[in-house]
């Protein structure tokens, strides 16, 4: 109980710091890959602070409510995860949060935001089966959906769940909204949807969304870490290193691919879930 409380508090304080820092590293690496120098590593924090100074405008009276709900439930999602709760609970809470963000975009009635929201929904449909199969895989192997039970395990889940691991890394590109699957919104400069889903958010509201994404990224990497748990310090270190490598891999993918059509996102993610997730699950259940 005590460790759960400590890790939740640590998550609440550290996740935005680490998440923001990783976002800064992302921008530097990306810049170097493109032959630019890039901003200082703390730039994402400066951005958020600057956004808070902006004029308070909005497009309607209800949008902020949805965004606040999005923020709260993203934080709660990670809270459940680091408190050792059920993986399915975590996934469903994250879905709730995502739907709040989508509804916020829809509510603006703006063309760019709505098309972005529709695409975000599509991305959700694309990655959802693989995310659920990841949770099911952990359950089939360790006998529990709960993160704290999985953390107690003495056998590393990576080897038996290798198919699911690869599948999860694959859909992580969609979840991080990285190219080639940055369909709904993008950090890059002016694109056909302007800022897509985020078009109508500004000032403090936009800052809130940025911070929420930092929280979200940390806990998504937390799931990557779960594949390496076996109770030893060595594997803990390796797990953290692999999380960082996974993040680096996503940056590389982001910079080496042009955006693809939404059909590719849906097809590839569903095939990955069916083939990698399905076969892997079949093998564990037979054994």
């Amino acid at each position: 109980m005590l460790t759960a409380i400590i890790s939740v508090i640590a998550y609440l304080i550290l996740a935005p710091l680490i998440g923001g820092f990783l976002a800064g590293v992302d921008r530097i690496i990306t810049a170097r890959m493109q032959g630019r120098f890039g901003p200082p590593v703390l730039q994402p924090f400066y951005d958020v602070l600057k956004l808070r100074e902006k004029e308070n405008i909005t497009v309607n009276r209800v949008q902020d409510f949805y965004v606040i709900c999005f923020f709260i439930f993203v934080v709660v999602t990670g809270g459940f995860f680091f408190a050792g709760g059920s993986l399915l609970l975590v996934i469903f809470t994250l879905t709730l949060a995502s739907v709040f963000l989508i509804v916020a975009a829809f509510s603006s009635g703006s063309a760019y935001a709505q098309v972005g929201a529709e695409r975000e929904l599509l991305q959700m449909m694309a990655y959802e089966p693989m995310v659920l199969l990841t949770a099911v895989g952990f359950y089939a192997y360790t006998g529990s959906f709960r993160v704290d039970d999985i953390m107690q395990g003495s056998n590393m889940p990576l080897i038996p769940l290798v198919g699911i691991f690869v599948g999860y890394i694959f859909i992580l590109t969609i979840k991080f909204r990285k190219s080639p699957f940055d369909l709904s919104m993008s950090h890059h400069a002016h694109q056909e949807l302007v800022a897509g889903l985020k078009t109508e958010f500004s000032g403090r509201t936009l800052a809130l969304i940025e911070v929420a994404h930092w929280y979200e990224n940390i806990f998504l990497l937390g799931i990557v870490f779960l594949f390496f748990v076996n109770g030893t310090i060595l594997m803990t270190v390796i797990g953290i290193v692999v999380c960082l490598l996974a993040y680096f891999l996503e940056i590389c993918i982001d910079n080496s691919f042009a955006r693809m059509k939404w059909q590719v996102a849906l097809n590839s993610a569903w095939i990955a879930a069916l083939v990698l997730g399905g076969i892997n699950l079949f093998v564990i259940m037979i054994g």
Binding site: E55, N56, I57, T58, V59, N60, R61, V62, D64, F65, Y66, I68, C69, I72, F80, G85, S86, L88, L89, F92, T93, T95, L96, V99, I102, V103, A105, F106, S107, S108, G109, S110, A111, A113, Q114, V115, E118, L121, L122, M124, M125, A126, E128, P129, L132, L133, V136, Y139, F145, V194, T199, E200, L266, W270, A273, L274, G278, L281, F282, M285
Partner: protein
């Protein structure tokens, strides 16, 4: 015992009274008073037998049996007459086979079998009684206001509301009969009445109209009739096998035989087949889709508290004898495939009633699959889905009905700006939609538990189905939710013309949706778990802990609080949306090419090339048909081999 008889007989009396009354005033009063009485009686029934658990009643069924038989013959004659009149030979043939077969059995073999307990009450039937008694009657009350508007739109056909309300209340009576009868012959009788009621309700705009017949309504009504008669035939065969080979006609005895380790797969598979037709599972889903031609209260009734729920009720009852046997595998295959294909189908639809219909078919599929798995955990999920689906789906149908009468369309694309035009209605719909798929709400919790139950039974196909099906479900609900929430521009508020009965009924539904989510740990521990303990011996293997359930309740509470504090409040300056600098400032128009003002039109995604209706239906119908034919063939083969 008195309450049970009241619940079956009183709606019948109300029905007859409503058939006679021709004026609005008295009809309104009779509907409201009867609805209130039925709702109160169903609550009394639960209070009365709550302490006892399962109770069986020894009623002298001799006279009632003959009475029912006479009615069955009369109903068959009506079907045959209508079949000839509308040239639907299949209906004639089915009625001409089914009823004589049943009558012959009742007079010969069936006559020798003594039925001790004709009626019963257990936790599951209590749940069903509450659903029928509260949701069903709320729909009838809604019908008062709705049918006034409906009448205005359909002047030419004459006022046929007495017939409408007669059927609605008759339906309730028959439903109470189904969930409280232990004698399968009685259950069959009530089953056939619901078939006929739904036939007349679906054909409301078609049948008996001399000049203004809606041909589609007539056609769809007969489709429903024929498919349900096929199911009825399955029920008759199941009863005959049960009577001839096992010497009983009682559902409870059959389940007891099954739980002692004897195979009852043969009767079970036929009873389940009947359930599959009534629950509109593939390959029989088309009748429920066709049913949307009827006035909206009919759809609400068929989809939420009656008809299809009778189908899943029977299959859930059979769950203890399902599992890894032929009957169980057939049921899980049919349910699983239906869930997946119907969920995909819902994505490609823009007609709100059709989305709701496919979502009903899909959710029933999940319930059926849970029953097929037959473990306590799966059945827990199935029963919870029945409860939450009944309330939420009913709410959504009533909202769509009201929207249709006020904006003149049931197309989701025409619901742009409903949030401004009919704020309260839009809010109700959003709660309903959220209730169908989002986290702290009941449907999602049931789905969560179903997923655990599927993993526990090592059923890899169902696991994959539920993972992909859930993704599709979230997609089609969320895009509708988005459409509802969109604030287009300043629009006029037009919701003043909505009848007060409609607001009352919808408001009560909303309260029920939220209340059920808040107190479902109690529903689980006081109703569902005791039912599982008596039906399965233990409720072990429930996937969700009370800890999970409490978290969900806390989340609901938190959402309500956040809503109360933050919703609609802002001190920010409101500005027009971004239109690449070419907006006219009203959020609706921009200056297009050639300096022309152009309207912004936003449409949802339907992904026809992926989830086209025809493609999904063909795949679903073929695979489920194959599953059914092979399974029934196997059972019949082993029966013939065993003789």
């Amino acid at each position: 015992m008195g309450t049970i008889i009241f619940l079956i007989v009183f709606p019948l009396i109300a029905a007859v009274a409503l058939l006679i009354l021709k004026n609005d005033g008295p009809r309104d009063i009779v509907v409201k008073v009867s609805a209130a009485l039925i709702a109160v009686a169903s609550i009394i029934l639960v209070v009365q037998y709550f302490g006892d658990g399962d109770r069986y009643f020894d009623v002298d069924g001799e006279v009632i049996g003959y009475l029912m038989m006479a009615m069955e013959i009369a109903l068959a004659i009506v079907i045959i007459w209508l079949g000839i009149k509308y040239k639907k030979i299949l209906a004639v043939v089915l009625a001409a086979i089914q009823t004589p077969l049943m009558v012959w059995f009742e007079l010969s073999t069936g006559h020798g079998i003594t039925v001790v307990n004709n009626l019963y009450v257990d936790r599951l039937s209590m749940i069903m009684v509450l659903i029928i008694g509260i949701i069903g009657t709320l729909i009838c009350v809604y019908g008062i206001g709705y049918m006034k508007d409906f009448q205005k739109h359909h002047q030419e056909a004459g006022d046929r509301r007495p017939w409408f309300f007669f059927l609605m209340f008759l339906f309730l009576s028959a439903m109470f009969g189904i969930v409280l009868s232990n004698n399968l012959v009685w259950l069959y009788f009530f089953w056939e009445i619901t078939t006929l009621c739904s036939f007349f309700l679906i054909g409301y705009n078609g049948l008996f109209h001399k000049k203004h017949e809606d041909k589609v309504a007539t056609r769809n009504a007969f489709r429903a009739l024929i498919m349900n008669l096929v199911g009825g035939l399955g029920l008759v065969i199941g009863i005959i096998i049960l009577g001839s080979y096992y010497g009983t006609l009682e559902l409870s005895t059959m389940l007891k035989i099954g739980s002692m380790g004897y195979s009852v797969a043969a009767p079970a598979i036929f009873l389940a087949f009947a359930g599959i037709t009534k629950a509109a599972q593939m390959p029989f889903n088309s009748w429920l889709l066709g049913a949307m031609v009827a006035p909206t209260p009919t759809s609400a009734l068929l989809h939420s508290s009656t008809m299809v729920k009778a189908g899943v009720f029977l299959i859930i009852k059979l769950a203890p004898v399902m599992g890894w046997n032929v009957a169980g595998i057939m049921v899980m295959m049919v349910g699983g495939i239906t869930f997946l294909m119907a969920s995909f189908n819902a994505i490609s639809q823009s007609n709100a009633k059709k989305v709701l219909a496919y979502s009903t078919v899909a959710n029933l599929g999940l319930i059926v699959a849970c029953a097929g798995v037959g473990s306590p955990g799966a059945v827990w999920a199935g029963i919870m889905l029945i409860i939450f689906h009944a309330v939420t789906k009913s709410l959504l149908f009533l909202c769509v009905g009201t929207a249709e009468h006020n904006i003149g369309s049931r197309d989701i694309e025409d619901m742009d700006g409903l949030f401004e035009r009919m704020p309260r209605l839009a809010m109700f719909m959003m709660i309903g939609i959220a209730g169908m798929f989002l986290a702290p709400m009941g449907m999602l919790i049931s789905k969560w538990d179903a997923m655990i139950a599927f993993v526990d039974s090592n059923n890899i196909i169902l696991i994959l189905i539920i993972c992909f099906g859930s993704a599709a479900t979230a997609f089609y609900w969320a895009k509708w939710l988005g459409k509802m929430s969109a604030i287009v521009a300043k629009e006029e508020n037009i919701q003043k013309s909505v009848h007060k009965e409609e607001w009352f009924s919808q408001g009560t539904h909303v309260v029920l949706v939220v209340l059920l989510c808040l107190c479902f740990p109690f529903v689980s521990s006081s109703m569902v778990v005791p039912y599982l303990e008596s039906g399965f011996g233990s409720a072990a293997g429930l996937g969700l802990t009370s800890y999970d359930l409490i978290i969900m309740c806390v989340m609901i509470g938190a959402l309500i609080l956040i809503f109360a504090f933050f919703f609609g409040r802002t001190n920010k300056r409101i500005v027009p949306v971004y239109m690449a600098g070419a907006g006219k400032g009203d959020n609706l128009t921009y200056v297009g090419s050639m300096q022309k003002d152009t309207q912004v039109v936003l449409r949802n995604w339907y992904m026809e090339s992926y989830f086209g209706e025809v493609k999904m239906n063909v795949i679903g119908v073929i695979t489920t048909s194959v599953a059914i034919v092979i399974s029934i063939g196997l059972v019949l083969g082993s029966m013939i081999g065993g003789m």
